[in-house]
Symmetry: C4
Subunit: 239 residues, 4 copies
C-alpha cells in the first residue's frame, strides 16, 4: 500500500467534492425577478459555505492525520474509503438542507439528514484513528505515547459532539447550521498553535514546520506535537 | 509512454468518477414530506454505496496491476482507456438502477444494464492483464511465472463470475445488487494478506511493503507475490 | 503546513472549477430549431469563455503568488480557502449571467451578482498577499522590499478596479462582461515581460526563468522581479 | 512558467473532462419501458464513446507534444489554455449531438456544432505547435530539424481534415460521427511505432522509451523521432 499515492487519491477526492458543492445550489426557476430569486436562496448559499469550510478543514486534518502514520495497510485504506464516502456524499445533504430552508418545508428533516451524515463522518474519523493507533500499530515510532492517549480521548469527544448535534438539528435547522459553522470555526482557530513557544510565533520556522502534528492537534485539540515528529514525517518520500 | 503519468491520469479519473457518483442520486421531487421522499430513495443510496466501493477497490487493484508491469506501451494504454471508459460510465447505470428500484419500475432492465457494464469492465481488466502478461512482454523480469499463470486463471474466473451475474440480474434486481456488494466485500477482505508469514502480520513492514503484488493478488485471489517484487516495483521513479 | 501539497490541492480545485464551467451552459430546451436555440445562447457561451479565461489566468497568478512565499501557515491556508471558495463559486454566477442575457431578463441583477463575486475574489487575493507579506512574515528573504511595496499598491488598485466594475454592471450587463474580458486580457498581456532585457526576449532562458516573480508581477503590474528570486523559488521541493 | 506544473494542470483538466462526459447522456425520461428508453439513447452512447476516445488520445498527444518543448512561456500557456477550452467544451456538443440523433431532430445542426468545435480544437493544436516550434524557439536543441518541418506539414493536414469534416457534418450526421471515430482510430493505430526497428518490437525497451517523439509522431504521422530525444526529454524534472 503506497501511502503517498493513497494520500494523492484522497486529496483528489477532497478537491473534487469541494468544487462539486456549487452544483448543489439550485438554478433560479425564473428570471423575471432574479434579485428576489437569489435573495430567497441565501440558505443554499449558507449551507454551501459551511460545507465548503467543513471539507477544506477536513482536508487539512486528513493530511495531518496521515502524517502521524508511518505506513498504511488495507484496513486503513478501507476505513479511509469510508471516510471519503461520507465526504463525497456531503454535497447531497447540503443541497437538500439549503433547498428545504429556502422553501421553508421539512427543514428539520433536512437538518437531521445533514447531521447524521456528519455524525457518520465523525465515526469514520475515529475509526481511522483507533485502527491506526491501537497498540501503535501504524504510528511513527517517535509519536509520543501521551499524545496518542489524548488524541483518542479527543476523537471520542468529537464523536459525542457530532452525535449531539443531531439533537440540535431536531430542535431548529438554522441553529444546527450555525452550530456546524461554529464547529468549523473552532477547528479553524487552532488554539493549539497560538500557545507560547509554538512554531508560528517562534522565529523563522521552515515551510514544513507546521505540517505534521499540529494538524492532528487541531483535529483533536492536542497541545504538544514535538517538532522532531513533524519534521521526521516529511522525508523525501512525501509528495 | 511515461508509466507514472498514465498512472496519475488514471488515478485522477478514478477519483473524479468516485466523487461524481453522488450526482446520480436524484434530488427530492418535493419537500412537503421530505422524510418519506428520502426514505423512498434508499435503493439509490444503496446503489451509490456499492458503486463507490467498486470504484474504490478497483483503484487499489489498478494501482497493483500496474506495479507488476515494468513498462507500458500504446496497446496497454488503449486497453487502459477502455477500462477507464467502463469506470467513468458506471455512474450512469448506477443512477438508473437506483431510480428504477426506487420507482419499482423496470428494475430488471436496470439491473441487467448495470450487470452488462460490470461484465464489460471485467473483460477490460482481463484484456489488460492478458495483453501485458502474454509472453511476459511487459512484466517485471522478477514476476514469478507460476503467479502469472495463476493470475490468468483467476482473471478468467472473474470474467465468468461477472458474466453469470447478468443472469442473477435477470432474476432479481435486489439479489443482483447484493451480489455486487458481495463481490466487492470479497475483494476487500483480501484473504491472501491474512495468510501466515505475510507482511501485515510479520513485524515492522515498511510503507511500501503491501504495495505491489498483494493487490494483484487480491484482484485475482493469488497467494504468493514475493516481497522482492513488491519492493522492486517501487523505485524512486514512482510517484 | 506542507506548501507543495497545498499548491497541488489548489491546482486540483482550479482544474475542476475550470472544467465544470461547461455545465453552466443550459441544455437546449427543444431540438426542433436547434440552430436558433444555440445561437440564442451566445451570451452563455461568452460568459463561459470569460470565466474560463479568468480562472485559467488566476491559476497562473496563484502559482506565482505562492512562489514568492517561503512557507505558509494556517492563516494563509484559510485565506487561500476563501480564495478557492470564490473561484469554485464562479460557475454559479456565470451560468446565471449567461441565462439572464440569453433570456433578456434581469440581466443587470445577474451582472451585479457576477461583479460582486469577482469583487470578493479580488479582496481574497489582496488579503492573501497582505497576510503573507505584512512585515515580510512569509516572504522569501530575497524578495525585494521595493517590490513588496509596489505589489501592495497594485493589489489595492485591483480591489478598487473590481469594486468599480460593480458600478459598470449596474449600468449595462454587456459592457460589464466586456470589461471582465478586458481585465482578463490585461493580465494575460503581461506587459512586464515585454520590457527590454527580460527573459523571454533575452536569449536561451531556462524553463523556470518565467516562473516566479513575473507572474506576481503580472497579477500586480510589477516590473522588476529579479531573476535570482525566480530561480531560487523553484528548488527541488517544487512539484 | 513551470513546465511540469502546467502539464499536471492540463492532465487534471483532461481527466475531469473525460469523466464529466458521462453527464452528457440524458437520464431516462420515464421508467415504464426502460429497455426501449435506453435503446433509443444509443446515439448518445455512441457520441459519448467517440468523445471519450478523442479526449483520451488527445491526452496522449498533449503529453507528447509538451515533451518536445524544452521550456514553455506565457504565449504557449495561453495557447494551451485555448486548447483546453475546446476540450472542456466538448461535453456540450457531445450531449447535443447525442440528443439530436436520438430525437431525430436537427441532427445536421448538431453535427456541424460538434464539427466546428473539433475544427477549432485542431486550430489550437496547430497554433500551439507553430508557436512553440517557429524558429525552434521552445524546442529541445536535439529535436531534429527535418522532423519539425514534417510535423508542421502534418499539423496543417490535420487542420484541413477537421475543417473538411464540417462538410461531412452538413451532409449526414451519422457519417460525421463515424468519421470522427475513424480519425480517432487512425491516431490510435499509431502506424509509426509499428515500423521495423522501433522500440516496441526492438527488444527490452525501457519504460520511457515510447514516451516522447512517438506521440508527436502519432499526432502528426511522423516516422523518425530519434531515441536520444525521447530519452532526453524525460529527465528528473518530469513528474
Amino acid at each position: 500500500m503506497n501511502k503517498s499515492r493513497v494520500e494523492a487519491f484522497s486529496d483528489g477526492v477532497f478537491a473534487i467534492a469541494i468544487t462539486l458543492l456549487v452544483l448543489t445550489i439550485a438554478q433560479p426557476a425564473n428570471y423575471h425577478d432574479l434579485g428576489r430569486e437569489l435573495a430567497h436562496r441565501w440558505p443554499s448559499l449558507a449551507a454551501y459555505v459551511v460545507s465548503f469550510a467543513v471539507i477544506g478543514i477536513m482536508w487539512l486534518n486528513h493530511h495531518s492525520l496521515f502524517s502521524s502514520f508511518e505506513r498504511i495497510d488495507r484496513g486503513l485504506f478501507y476505513l479511509n474509503l469510508l471516510l471519503l464516502l461520507t465526504i463525497t456524499f456531503l454535497p447531497y445533504p447540503t443541497g437538500v438542507l439549503g433547498e428545504a430552508l429556502a422553501k421553508g418545508q421539512s427543514s428539520t428533516t433536512a437538518a437531521v439528514f445533514y447531521a447524521v451524515t456528519m455524525a457518520v463522518n465523525s465515526y469514520a474519523w475515529s475509526a481511522l484513528w483507533l485502527y491506526g493507533s491501537y497498540h501503535r500499530r501504524l504510528l511513527h515510532a517517535s509519536f509520543p505515547e501521551e499524545e496518542r492517549k489524548l488524541a483518542t480521548l479527543l476523537f471520542t469527544i468529537g464523536v459525542v459532539m457530532y452525535t449531539l448535534a443531531i439533537v440540535v438539528a431536531l430542535l431548529n435547522a438554522y441553529a444546527f447550521l450555525a452550530l456546524q459553522a461554529a464547529f468549523a470555526i473552532y477547528y479553524a482557530l487552532d488554539p493549539v498553535n497560538r500557545r507560547p513557544g509554538r512554531g508560528r510565533r517562534g522565529g523563522p520556522a521552515s515551510a514544513d514546520d507546521l505540517a505534521g502534528g499540529n494538524d492532528v492537534a487541531s483535529q483533536t485539540g492536542l497541545a504538544s506535537t514535538p517538532g522532531r515528529l513533524r519534521r521526521r514525517s516529511h522525508g523525501p518520500g512525501r509528495r
